[in-house]
Symmetry: C2
Subunit: 199 residues, 2 copies
Amino acid sequence: MSIEKLDTQIRQNQIAQAALDLVSSQGMKGLSVAAVARKVGVVPSAIYRHFKGKDHVLDAVLDLISHRLIGNVMAVREETADPMERLRLLLARHAHLIRDNQAIPRVVFSDEVYGGNPGRKARMHGIVSTYLSSVGDIVRDGQERRMIRNDVDPGAIAVMFLGLIQTPAILWHLSGENFDVSKQIERAWKIFRETIEKS
Amino acid sequence: MSIEKLDTQIRQNQIAQAALDLVSSQGMKGLSVAAVARKVGVVPSAIYRHFKGKDHVLDAVLDLISHRLIGNVMAVREETADPMERLRLLLARHAHLIRDNQAIPRVVFSDEVYGGNPGRKARMHGIVSTYLSSVGDIVRDGQERRMIRNDVDPGAIAVMFLGLIQTPAILWHLSGENFDVSKQIERAWKIFRETIEKS
DNA sequence: TGTACATCAGTGAACGCGCGTTCACTGATGTAC
DNA sequence: TGTACATCAGTGAACGCGCGTTCACTGATGTAC
């Protein structure tokens, strides 16, 4: 057996990504040190060369999720300057993100963050809050530019916005990936758009 | 130690309720046979007199959740005949339900139903679908009575409706129960109402 | 350019804990006589 | 009304499995000379 050695930094990235993939495909119970190691092509105990323990691997997964969310916001900011268009694109991106990374809802609702370690829960709260703030910023910008009605709180809009995707995402998975997310999102967006757009 | 014997039916109810409470307070990892037994006041192995195994206890929890949801729909149907008012009341009831039973999102997203046993996942899908159908029925009724605009699909409205609650519920928990769910729901409902109401 | 050495990623065996489940038993409860 | 018996809920010890983690080791890699 040829033993290949790689830098800790490379391994950390590989391990975090492998962990995220495992959670996406098999849920939190699929996130075992052994499974991560197998996926990376290494023996379980080798994981401890790069992470202090399983908990730290999970923290790295939170980092990945955080980066994905922030990345989507930055991407739509570059794609267009129109606030309404930014929201529409972000909606589509978020839908894709959750589809590709089913890990996200699973991690958010897992015992490990939802119920366990208070620090991790706070961290997840920070991630979600940051994301909502970004959405709120887009809305506020739209209000200032008189494109979005300004008798509504940007934060409230942001929360509703996120709600547009969550339920379809759940239905999509529960239905065995049969639920038509695109169609639902399209319909919901149409209604949502009329609602908040300045007439 | 005085040994008290109770009917299987009574015990099954006690066990299911204890299990639901445990998940609400400690998450899915708190749902151990030992913990359930302790809560009921019995030794772990006694659980097996009333359930074939832990999986069947979880199934009983699904039953409870299903009944709670259906119960809310039936309740608002009795409270008023006005479709719009029914939706408003259901929204409030659902918010309370999730607050009191944090088990609901945790169970829905748990590996046990979200990823594991396909039968259980299908069952959860049935529960959610039934609930959404009920909401859709209320919407359709409103459309037929010309109180809700009929250029929108009742099902799409139902999904959006559920989305109004889900995100606030998550934020409420992640924030350490600091997020003001009532305020968000109130604002969101106001916007949602204007949107779907026939003008 | 080649060699000796320090560093550290990777290995494999072993551990200990939590937890679901089994099983032979005990003794409370309700019923038939 | 009282007694014998069948039923079955409750007990406690024991098991086996999965899994996170530890530890002494091996040997690949890069560097100093």
